[in-house]
């Protein structure tokens, strides 16, 4: 298993734990006292679907998909690492920006940076994976 895949999968597992822990807090009696917690539904959903599910797919696809070439079996490694960094940076920015917005302190630059980072991560993954999806 390549190093990048290990990073993707281990980060995915951390997001799974974090998302489910957040869901416990959101469902608890604490949510009745802190309406902020109810506003974290989109954060929870994206930690689960992007942080866990999509990141796990990225990691496994990078590892298991057909080889790009014998010289560069997994395509452009640097692009793969850039995807990893951008995806996680984007998610972490979101996890900060959404609670700030929920308490009435919207932070547009953080939200936009999060959106751009996640978009570039996804597009980078598509660009790196596309040539590896081929008939044998």
């Amino acid at each position: 298993m390549p190093a990048l895949t290990r990073w993707f999968i281990k980060a995915a597992m951390l997001y799974l734990v974090a998302a489910l822990a957040l869901s416990v807090v959101m469902q608890s009696a604490l949510a009745g006292q802190l309406p902020l917690l109810r506003a974290l539904w989109p954060t929870y959903l994206h930690l689960l679907v992007v942080g866990w599910l999509t990141q796990l797919i990225f990691g496994v696809a990078f590892w298991m998909f057909p080889k790009y070439s014998s010289a560069s079996p997994r395509g452009h490694d640097a692009l793969g690492w850039a995807c990893f960094v951008l995806l996680n940076l984007g998610l972490l920015l979101r996890a900060v920006a959404e609670p700030l917005q929920a308490v009435g302190r919207p932070h547009a630059p953080l939200l936009i940076a999060s959106a751009v980072a996640q978009l570039l991560a996804g597009w980078g993954f598509v660009a790196n994976t596309w040539p590896r999806v081929k008939e044998r």
């Binding site: 547009a108 999060s114 978009l119 597009w123 081929k134």
Partner: protein
């Protein structure tokens, strides 16, 4: 990777690219007002990423890696998997655009029906392939 898997996975990658773009615009619009039209991107974001990307990718990989048969067509009733590919993409587009463009509700209902039929067709295809490696049937 067989041709149908290539089509399924590449279609999934296209939905990922577009679905993420819709999501990025939606997220950015929470910081900067971009117009009321942005709200219409939500069904595209959800439908494209959930059905177009995640489900379609799973079908593509399953068609590729599930055990094959030793006798007869090695991947069994392939026509059912092709039918699933067509129905799924028709369904995703109809359900997403139907909601985003506020078309008559029948469009998105038909889209969801096509997605459900795609799931049934692919399950019929894959069911006999879910077996121990090396068993003849």
């Amino acid at each position: 990777m067989p041709r149908l898997s290539v089509l399924l996975v590449r279609s999934a990658l296209c939905y990922l690219a577009i679905g993420l773009l819709a999501g990025a615009v939606l997220l950015a619009s929470r910081g900067v007002f971009l117009g009321a039209w942005v709200g219409r991107l939500l069904p595209i974001h959800i439908e494209f990423l959930l059905m177009g990307w995640t489900v379609q990718l799973a079908l593509g990989v399953a068609f590729w890696v599930l055990p094959r048969f030793r006798t007869g067509p090695e991947r069994g009733r392939v026509e059912l998997a092709w039918l699933a590919y067509g129905l799924l993409n028709l369904g995703v587009l109809a359900a997403a655009i139907g909601q985003a463009a506020a078309l008559p509700p029948a469009v998105s209902v038909l889209g969801r029906a096509a997605e459900a039929l795609a799931a049934a067709a692919f399950s019929l295809h894959a069911w006999p392939r879910v077996k121990m490696f090396g068993t003849p049937k």
